[in-house]
C-alpha cells in the first residue's frame, strides 16, 4: 500500500485490475484503492507477471503492506499478452489463465456466438455485417450455403436464409411498438393496464463515493445540533470588483468570509466529542460538484493569507484537479470551514449539512436582481434594482449560538456591501 499523502495511514483495496497470471507494465494501473476520502489508482511499480494477490478486495491494510507479488524475471520468457488472450504454457499459471474472462463484445449474449469462426467448414472468413446479422437472428452459419468467393457467406445469403427460415430469435427491436403511429388511441385498449405491470429497471449498488457521502452526511445530522440562519446581501460592490479583477464572485465573497472567520474564530472551529478546537488559520473547504458521481470538498490551506486573485487561482486549480480525479488525500483534509456554492443553477435557499468536525458551513445561492429599498445620504428612501444573494449558515448549536451565527453573517454582509477592490 503506497504512501499517498502525509496523513494517509491505511487504504482499502476496491478493485484489482490485474489477476494472477496477467502481464502488467510498469506504471500501468494494477489496482484501485480508497483512503478515507479519495479513491485512487495504484500504478504497478515494475513490469512483470502478477503471481499472487495478497490483499483481497474490501480489505483495509496499513501503508507499506505488500498488496501483490509481481514476477519481474518472467519478462524474457513470454512476451506481454493481453489479459484475455489464450493461455501460454507458463508453468504454474496456466490454470488461472484458462479461467480468465473472454473478451465480450458489447451487446453480445453470454451463450457461445454462432458466428465463431473457428469450426467453420466454409474455410472463408466472415464479414462484419454477416457476423452481426447472424448474431442478431441467432442463425447457425453452418446451415447456410455461401455463394460468395470460395463459398463465403455473403450478406445476401444470410438475408435470404433469415427470410426463408426465420431466425432462432427475433432481431433486436422486433415486437416493440412502432415509435410513431397515427393516433395513440386504440379502441379496446384498457387504459394503463394495457402496458402491463410496471417492471422497474434493475437496481445497482451505490458507488463508493455516494456511500461515503451518505454516511458522512447522515452522521453529521445525527450528531450535530444543526440550525440554519440566512442573511440577504447586496452584491453591487462585489459585482464591480468582480468585473475589475476578471474573476468570479466566489473568491471575493470567500475573502469576506475569511476575514469574518478571523474575527469570529469560534465559527472556524472543530468539535470532536467534547474537545473544542479554535483555529487561527483558515483552511477553507470548497464543495466541487462532480456531476452524477457526487461531490468532493478540496481545501484551500492558509486561506487567510491569500488575495482574491490568489484564492481564485487556488479554487480553480483544486476544482480542475477534482474533476480530473487528481486530488491527493492531503488536498481534502484539515478543513476548518466550508463554503458550498450551488447558486449557479438559480436556487434561492438551502440548509447545508455541516461537514464534521467543523461547526459551520456557508451556502451561497444565486445572485438575483431585486427591487430593494435603499436610503440615500439625506435619509430619503428609494426603490433600487440591486443584485442580491441569500447566504445561509448552518451551524452546530453544540458549539455556538444563534446570536454568534447572526453576528458572523452580519459581518460578512458588511464586508461584502462595503467591498473595495
Amino acid at each position: 500500500m503506497p504512501q499517498m499523502g502525509v496523513s494517509v495511514a491505511e487504504g482499502t483495496v476496491v478493485q484489482w485490475r490485474k489477476q494472477p497470471g496477467d502481464w502488467v507494465q510498469a506504471d500501468e494501473t494494477i489496482a484501485e484503492v480508497s483512503t478515507d476520502k479519495i479513491d485512487t489508482e495504484i500504478p504497478s511499480p515494475a513490469s512483470g507477471r502478477v503471481v499472487e494477490i495478497l490483499v483481497q478486495v474490501g480489505v483495509t491494510v496499513d501503508v507499506g503492506v505488500a498488496l501483490a507479488r509481481i514476477a519481474t524475471g518472467a519478462a524474457a520468457a513470454t512476451a506481454p499478452v493481453p489479459a484475455a488472450a489464450p493461455a501460454p504454457a507458463t508453468p504454474g499459471s496456466s490454470a488461472k489463465l484458462a479461467s480468465a474472462p473472454r473478451p465480450a463484445r458489447p451487446g453480445a449474449s453470454s451463450q457461445p456466438r454462432a458466428a465463431e469462426p473457428a469450426p467453420r467448414s466454409h474455410g472463408a472468413r466472415l464479414s462484419p455485417v454477416v457476423q452481426r446479422i447472424a448474431e442478431e437472428h441467432g442463425v447457425d452459419l453452418d446451415a447456410i450455403e455461401g455463394t460468395g468467393r470460395d463459398g463465403r457467406v455473403r450478406k445476401q445469403d444470410i438475408m435470404a436464409y433469415v427470410e426463408a427460415h426465420g431466425g432462432a430469435r427475433p432481431p433486436a427491436g422486433a415486437g416493440e411498438p412502432v415509435l410513431h403511429s397515427e393516433s395513440p388511441y386504440r379502441p379496446g385498449a384498457g387504459g394503463s393496464l394495457a402496458h402491463g405491470p410496471y417492471v422497474p429497471p434493475e437496481g445497482r449498488p451505490l458507488s463508493r463515493m455516494r456511500s461515503l457521502i451518505g454516511e458522512h452526511m447522515h452522521r453529521s445530522l445525527q450528531t450535530a445540533a444543526t440550525c440554519t440562519t440566512w442573511i440577504e446581501v447586496d452584491m453591487s460592490r462585489i459585482e464591480i470588483a468582480r468585473k475589475q479583477l476578471a474573476i468570479t464572485a466566489l473568491p471575493l465573497i470567500s475573502r469576506c468570509v475569511i476575514h469574518a472567520l478571523v474575527e469570529f474564530p469560534h465559527v472556524n472551529a472543530w468539535l470532536q466529542d467534547d474537545v473544542h478546537t479554535i483555529h487561527e488559520q483558515v483552511n477553507l473547504g470548497i464543495a466541487v460538484d462532480l456531476g452524477d458521481d457526487g461531490l468532493i470538498v478540496p481545501v484551500v490551506r492558509g486561506a487567510q493569507d491569500l488575495s482574491p486573485e490568489g484564492l481564485s487561482r487556488r479554487i480553480r486549480d483544486l476544482a480542475r484537479r477534482a474533476r480530473a480525479r487528481q486530488l491527493s488525500p492531503d488536498d481534502v483534509r484539515d478543513g476548518t470551514f466550508t463554503i458550498t456554492n450551488p447558486g449557479q443553477f438559480g436556487s434561492l435557499m438551502a440548509t447545508p449539512v455541516i461537514s464534521l468536525p467543523q461547526v459551520a458551513i456557508l451556502d451561497i445561492e444565486a445572485i438575483v436582481k431585486r427591487p430593494v429599498v435603499v436610503t440615500d445620504q439625506f435619509g430619503e428612501d428609494a426603490i433600487a434594482i440591486r443584485p442580491m444573494v441569500i447566504l445561509g449558515l448552518s451551524w452546530d448549536h453544540r458549539a455556538i449560538d444563534g446570536a454568534l451565527a447572526a453576528r458572523f453573517l452580519a459581518n460578512v454582509k458588511k464586508r461584502a456591501e462595503s467591498y473595495e477592490a
Partner: protein, 321 residues
C-alpha cells in the same frame, strides 16, 4: 427549365448572382474582353464592365490576395484560376490567409475560387490535375465539386453566398460533354451528397467527372443493383449520406480521379472503416489515379485515369466477393 451545358450552367449561376448582388465581382486572367480561357465569362465584360469583371496579371497569389482584401471590406469576389493546376501559386493566400482569417480575426472571407480541373483531353501534367484534397486538408476552406449542369449552377451560387472561402472544382472534361435541364433564376444546391442512382447490392461513391464514369460502368452489371452516390461537397463531407449508403448496400467502391494517396476517397474510406465496420460485407475498394503525373500521351493518360472498364471490373469483383 432550360437545357444547357455544364459550362453554360456555371456562367448562368455567375450572371444570375451578379445581377442580383452588386457585391459580386470576378477576377482572373483573360476573363474580361477575352471571356476566359474556356469562355465561362463570355459576354460578362460587356454587361458588367471592367470594374466587376477584372482582368488580372498572371499572378495567382495577387488574384486571391486582392480578393481576400475585397471580401474583408464587404465584397463577394469570385476568382478564376485559368487551370486548377495554377492555384499552387496562390496556395499561401488561400490556405494561410483566407482560411484562417475568421479564426484569427473574426473576419469572414467570402471568396469563391473556381478551379477548372481534371484530365482526359491530353493536357499533360500541368493542365490536368485534381488538387481538391490539398484544400480539404486546410481547416477553414470548403470544397465542392458538381457533376451535373443543375448542380454546377446551384453550387456556384451557394459558394458565392457561403461566408467561408469556397474552392469550386469545375471539371473541364464535363464543360461541354454534360448537358442537363437547369432551373431558371436563382437557387442554391446544398453542400450535401446526392443519390445519382438508387441500388441495393453495392454503392459507388464518386464526385465530379467520376460520377459519370461510375454510372456508365454500373449501368449493366449482370443484373446487379448498384447505387451511385455523388458527393457534391468534399469539405464538409456528407457523412450521414455516406454511412447511410454503406449501411444499405454493405459493399462500397470509391472512385477518385485524383492521385490515390490522401485523395478525397481516402477520407471517405477511413470514415467508413471507423463508423460502418459492422455493416461491411467486403473490403472497402478504391479506384483512383496512381501516384504519377498525368501523361500527355493519350494512351498513357487513358491507362492511368480511372476508366469505365476499371471501375466496372472493381465492382464486378466486389459483388462476387
Amino acid at each position: 427549365m432550360t437545357e444547357m451545358t455544364y459550362l453554360r450552367a456555371i456562367s448562368d449561376g455567375l450572371r444570375t448572382e451578379m445581377r442580383s448582388d452588386e457585391r459580386v465581382l470576378l477576377m482572373g486572367e483573360d476573363i474580361g474582353v477575352f471571356g476566359g480561357a474556356f469562355k465561362v465569362t463570355d459576354g460578362f465584360f460587356d454587361e458588367f464592365g471592367a470594374s466587376r469583371v477584372m482582368d488580372t496579371p498572371l499572378a495567382e497569389s495577387a488574384i486571391i490576395g486582392t480578393a481576400i482584401g475585397a471580401a474583408v471590406v464587404g465584397m463577394r469576389p469570385v476568382c478564376e484560376m485559368q487551370f486548377a493546376d495554377f492555384v499552387a501559386c496562390g496556395f499561401d493566400q488561400l490556405v494561410n490567409t483566407a482560411a484562417k482569417m475568421y479564426y484569427r480575426q473574426d473576419l469572414p472571407v467570402n471568396i469563391t475560387v473556381r478551379l477548372p480541373s481534371g484530365g482526359g483531353f491530353s493536357g499533360g501534367p500541368f493542365h490536368s490535375q485534381n488538387p481538391e484534397s490539398w484544400f480539404m486538408h486546410a481547416p477553414g476552406v470548403k470544397v465542392v465539386a458538381p457533376s451535373t449542369a443543375e448542380d454546377a449552377k446551384g453550387l456556384i451560387i451557394a459558394s458565392m453566398r457561403d461566408p467561408n472561402p469556397v474552392v469550386y472544382m469545375e471539371h473541364k472534361h464535363l464543360y461541354r460533354r454534360v448537358k442537363g435541364e437547369v432551373p431558371e433564376g436563382s437557387y442554391e444546391t446544398p453542400f450535401r451528397a446526392r443519390v445519382a442512382r438508387e441500388g441495393e447490392d453495392l454503392v459507388v461513391i464518386a464526385y465530379g467527372a467520376m460520377v459519370h464514369t461510375a454510372l456508365e460502368a454500373t449501368a449493366d452489371l449482370a443484373g446487379a443493383s448498384v447505387m451511385v452516390l455523388d458527393l457534391r461537397s468534399l469539405k464538409p463531407l456528407d457523412e450521414e449520406a455516406i454511412l447511410g449508403a454503406v449501411r444499405h448496400c454493405s459493399k462500397v467502391v470509391i472512385v477518385d480521379e485524383a492521385n490515390e494517396t490522401c485523395a478525397a476517397g481516402a477520407q471517405v474510406a477511413a470514415l467508413i472503416a471507423e463508423h460502418a465496420f459492422e455493416d461491411l460485407d467486403g473490403p472497402v475498394v478504391r479506384v483512383a489515379t496512381p501516384d504519377c503525373p498525368i501523361p500527355f500521351s493519350p494512351p498513357l493518360e487513358a491507362a492511368v485515369l480511372p476508366s469505365v472498364d476499371r471501375v466496372r471490373e472493381a465492382c464486378r469483383q466486389l459483388i462476387e466477393y
